[in-house]
């Protein structure tokens, strides 16, 4: 009955675990086509800055080498980066819920490359968010700080948000639902308040000690550090590194549990 057979040795394995420009391009395009993602990550933080950061009763008071507006601008850029990176990472929740992750496991794509692509997309979205807030801030003109502070703060806010890319992945694997960001949005708003992004928290108060243990604290402090100069506190760096380790560990743990049914 069989007239032909297939020789498996004639088949090739794709290079780089399946990583390629076509898929990365499609992933970036998907992200920008998602209206909710664009509103939450690109428009909301800029809008918040305009609402909070430009109030004339305090905006021009001196804060470090800049003014209060600059302080709030950096905070909102960090908040935008956090939202964007989390949304990017949490895309895996939707993809798991839809069975797309399972579909991908029937292709040569390596799971490591999949996570890498999700991380690139999350960081790209984070970068866009930081740029959006800063452009709005620059055009608005209320925020003043030296250019190098402006640039370093933006880069730290963006790079530090990698912690939340990992957080998004972890939550994406933990909560397989199509609308995981509806849960994570309020959680992040709460964490931002605790981490000192909405209003300054006295670091010597009880609230200050609690704040120092929450995941946004390290990022918030480090992003605003260029405004003040000097040496960064070890606790800021420790906070960032420990939370990064917790979220990466959590994501890796959930992923490894995720064997039979993706």
């Amino acid at each position: 009955m069989t007239t032909q057979t297939i020789d498996p040795t004639t088949r090739r394995v794709p290079p780089l675990g399946g990583f390629n420009a076509t898929m990365l391009g499609l992933e970036l395009r998907r992200m920008l086509r998602n209206r909710r993602t664009v509103i939450i990550t690109l428009i909301l933080p800029a809008l918040l800055y305009l609402m909070i950061g430009t109030n004339t009763s305090y905006s021009n008071q001196t804060e470090g080498s800049g003014n209060v507006s600059a302080y709030i601008l950096i905070s909102m850029a960090a908040y935008g980066a956090v939202l964007a990176s989390t949304s990017g990472g949490a895309m895996v929740a939707t993809e798991r819920a839809l069975g797309w992750s399972r579909q991908l496991r029937l292709t040569p794509l390596s799971p490591v490359v999949y996570i890498l692509v999700k991380s690139i997309v999350a960081l790209a979205l984070g970068a866009l968010s930081v740029v959006a807030v800063n452009v709005v801030g620059a055009v608005n003109g209320k925020a003043t700080m030296p250019t190098h502070v402006w640039i370093t703060a933006a880069i730290i806010a963006w790079a530090g948000s990698v912690v939340f890319g990992a957080f998004g992945l972890f939550m994406g694997y933990l909560l397989p639902s199509e609308n995981v960001m509806q849960v994570l949005g309020p959680v992040l708003a709460g964490l931002a308040a605790l981490g000192g992004l909405w209003f300054p928290i006295n670091s010597h108060s009880t609230m200050g000690h609690i704040s120092a243990c929450t995941p946004i604290y390290g990022l918030a402090q480090l992003a605003r550090w260029p405004l003040y100069g000097g040496a960064p506190h070890a606790v800021w760096v420790v906070n960032l590194v420990v939370w990064l380790a917790i979220f990466v560990g959590g994501a890796a743990w959930r992923m490894s549990k995720d064997t039979a049914r993706v």
Partner: protein, 321 residues
Amino acid sequence: MTQTSLSGTSGSSAGAVPAVRISGVTKDFGSVHAVRGIDLTLDQGEIVAFLGPNGAGKTTTIDMVLGLSHPTSGSVEVLGLPPRHAIARGLVSAVMQTGGLLKDLTVRETVQYTASLFAGATPVDEVLRTAGIESIADRKVGKCSGGEQQRLRFAMALLSDPALLLLDEPTTGMDVEGRRAFWSAIRADAEKGRTVLFATHYLEEADQYADRIVLISHGRIVADGTGSQIKALAAGRTIRATLPDADADVLSALAGVENVDVRGDAVYIHAKDTDEVARYLLTQTAAHDLEITARGLEDAFLSLTGDDHDITPTDSEGASA
């Protein structure tokens, strides 16, 4: 439960590596034994139906062939390779009944995305044309009908020209005409060496389209043969008689007897010509209390699978396995 072995089903085509070789595989989920020891070899170019009630172990076995999970014991090889290696070479594809698609990509983007992951995939436009989804290429997947999405899934599965294709309830929701066209396409590909393993709980479909039916129940293979061999199990009638110390070997040797089952003082004899067996029992042995019952196709499967439900002889509603 014992395996009903039917002759001449696993002869290997000379020289070619088998499409699937499952040896002594078990799979436990905690204290649940989903697969209790399966040996199965599929040759290249075979179309095989994997038939069994829900929860029989079909999906668990298929997941192991796909490398999505690992056997608790035993080994699985796909074209002589570990399953993940076969998948990395694009040798294996699977089409599920639902899911597996991103709603926010267009049909073309979905095919492009999948194609980009394989070394040497068929060109995207050609695949869209063959699958008959060229006209909806720029439509968002979320806006496609169920049938269109199913055609897209097939297009994706065929991109890498797989040597082994696994299908889960492939023709659910298709009309008679669609079903016929589908199977003639599958048949044409099988002639080029592609092996097709499809899970189903429709006896009729398994019988009509598969070269071979593997019947699985409670994590074991209970029958393996061609459709007609499987159906032969259902032919004839069963005699039940009370016969202490029945000699199963002697009874099995009677003309037309296919199966003898001794349970305590009761003996169950399945035979084509039960009149002859009854005559023998009543004249040559101490047998009494004879009962003769006819067995339908469905009953044959029920007795093989040891279940009272879940197997449907013809199309009817049923959950996917």
